[in-house]
């Protein structure tokens, strides 16, 4: 939808090619970053990060557990850096493995979290584009990201690359630990790469639908993003992009909690509600129920799914079709594209500057200072 063209939507349009080129870059790196010994040593995994990187961790936690059989936690950087029980750090010979994600590597909280993890004996794998950053310096090993430069916009390309890096690590750990054959591992990897083509085919339709929804929803005061399992990560990213790009209130909640909390909100007719619900999800029946009651409340509803209305008993909603890969674990790689488009178009329609331009009251966060300039306490 060229009339709403902007840097963020152009980032989305670049994703199919990015999937294909980043796969070539990351596959050999993910294969070699940890030795057999290091992979066999893993008893537990902690994924950490802030912002989009935290969403990437949430998007891949289930993949780590399903592919490797290793218990995996997503822990926010401030929880790991300030609260996580010391007794559980550095156990069983450098466990848990802490995988910390930050493309810039400069966030103070992630730096603090990995310093604390390292101090108490954890093995730290940094996933970053900056080896000289605090994250890079405090990591035992680094999976180096190389994301080609692009027009600045709320993180879209970097999110995809973070998700891909984590998925490739999960596949590698499972392969080396003989959870499946090398052929199976290559099939998982092919599924990642193939999503570039699948997304390319669906993007035009996706752009049209998002533009129509953005036009209808642009004046809404609030947006509600809902999902469960790894779809929750996509919902989480959606609310983040609305805040960053459009500067509007947005919430994220899992499908069950929506029935406990968010559905109470008044002015439901002006609350743009986005449900991320893949048809293979164990939580799909609850997603179907949520669509039904969102309609009872007259909520404007957008459903992002690899299926269609028929998977939601024909309930009224705008359904946006996203790729249906062979293996559901790879869905988070592309299912976030519509939430980024929606945020990009709303920002464009209301004339909002990304991140408020770090001007006026927001000038304190210029250059990322709001997250890089923070006291670091390593206990």
């Amino acid at each position: 939808m060229k009339k709403y063209d902007n840097p963020m939507s152009r980032q989305v349009e670049s994703l199919p090619e990015l999937i294909e080129t980043q796969y070539e870059d990351l596959e050999p790196k993910a294969r070699k970053v940890l030795s057999f010994q290091e992979i066999y040593n893993i008893q537990k995994i902690v994924l950490t990060g802030c912002g989009d990187s935290l969403a990437a961790a949430m998007a891949t936690k289930h993949a780590f557990e399903m592919l490797t059989g290793i218990p995996t936690e997503v822990v926010t950087a401030i929880e790991l850096g300030r609260f996580y029980c010391k007794k559980h750090l550095g156990i069983d010979c450098r466990n848990p493995l802490v995988i910390a994600v930050s493309n810039s590597g400069n966030g103070a909280r992630v730096s603090e979290a990995v310093q604390r993890a390292a101090k108490h004996g954890c093995f730290v794998l940094g996933v970053t584009g900056n080896e000289q950053s605090p994250l890079g310096i405090h990591s035992d090993k680094i999976l180096k990201l190389c994301i080609p430069p692009f027009e600045s916009a709320p993180g879209t390309r970097s999110y995809l690359v973070s998700v891909m890096a984590l998925l490739l690590l999960a596949i590698r750990f499972g392969e080396v630990r003989h959870q499946y054959t090398m052929d199976q591992a290559m099939d998982y990897r092919a599924d990642i790469k193939n999503q570039g083509e699948q997304l390319r085919a669906l993007l035009p339709e996706m752009e049209d639908a998002c533009a129509e929804v953005a036009e209808a929803w642009k004046e809404f005061p609030c947006y509600d993003f809902v999902g469960s399992g790894f779809d929750y990560a996509t919902a989480w990213l959606g609310q983040a992009k609305i805040l960053e790009a459009a500067g509007k209130f947005a919430m994220h909640i899992n499908t069950e909690e929506w029935f406990h909390l968010n559905f109470f909100a008044r002015n439901a007719r002006e609350m743009g509600t986005v449900l991320v619900a893949n048809t293979t999800s164990p939580g799909h029946s609850r997603a179907r129920e949520m669509v039904k009651y969102a309609n009872v409340l007259h909520r404007p509803l957008l459903v992002i799914t690899d299926g269609g209305a028929e998977d939601f008993e024909g309930e009224k909603a705008v359904y946006i079709k996203v790729p249906k890969p062979k293996y559901p674990i790879t869905m988070p790689l592309t299912h976030f594209a519509p939430v980024c488009l929606l945020a990009a178009y709303i920002a464009e329609l209301i004339g909002e500057t990304y991140g408020r331009g770090c001007e006026g009251d927001w000038s304190f966060c210029k250059g990322g200072a709001g997250v890089t300039e923070s006291e670091i306490i390593v206990d």
Partner: protein, 134 residues
């Protein structure tokens, strides 16, 4: 004459291919010559072993594992420990065997069978049988 055979293997398994090799020799019409059995893989082997006691294969497997254990400190870390061990096993045991064709038949002793050895798997594998006349 060159003939190709496909097999779908299981992890670390043994496949008796004697019958296929014998048939290929007979179908070739070669009366006197040689027969080469070859596998184009680097984590599988071809060997001759006694077919009479199935437990013998357990001995073979155990001894191969004892000599070349699957371990995590192989220098070759591109794939998996099983794969790295498989490369060494394949190199030491060999990927082909040559047999004599005499009077139109495979010259094989009474307690000799020809076996395809999978050192990784499950995989889609193949092997070739080439029969050459004198």
């Amino acid at each position: 004459m060159l003939k190709n055979f496909k097999i779908k293997t299981k992890y670390n398994d043994v496949y008796d291919i004697t019958k296929e090799v014998r048939q290929t020799v007979e179908e070739s019409g070669v009366q006197e010559g040689i027969c080469i059995v070859y596998n184009p893989h680097s984590t599988a082997g071809i060997t001759v072993y006694s077919p009479w006691d199935p437990d013998g294969f357990l001995d073979l497997d155990e001894e191969i594992r004892r000599l070349i254990p699957t371990k995590v400190d192989f220098k070759h870390q591109h794939d998996t420990p099983q794969d790295a061990a498989g490369h060494v096993k394949s190199a030491l045991l060999g990927i082909s065997n040559t047999f004599i064709v005499h009077e139109g038949k495979l010259l094989l002793g009474g307690s000799q069978g020809i076996y395809f050895l999978e050192f990784d798997g499950p995989r889609n594998r193949e092997y070739f049988v080439k029969v050459v006349s004198d």
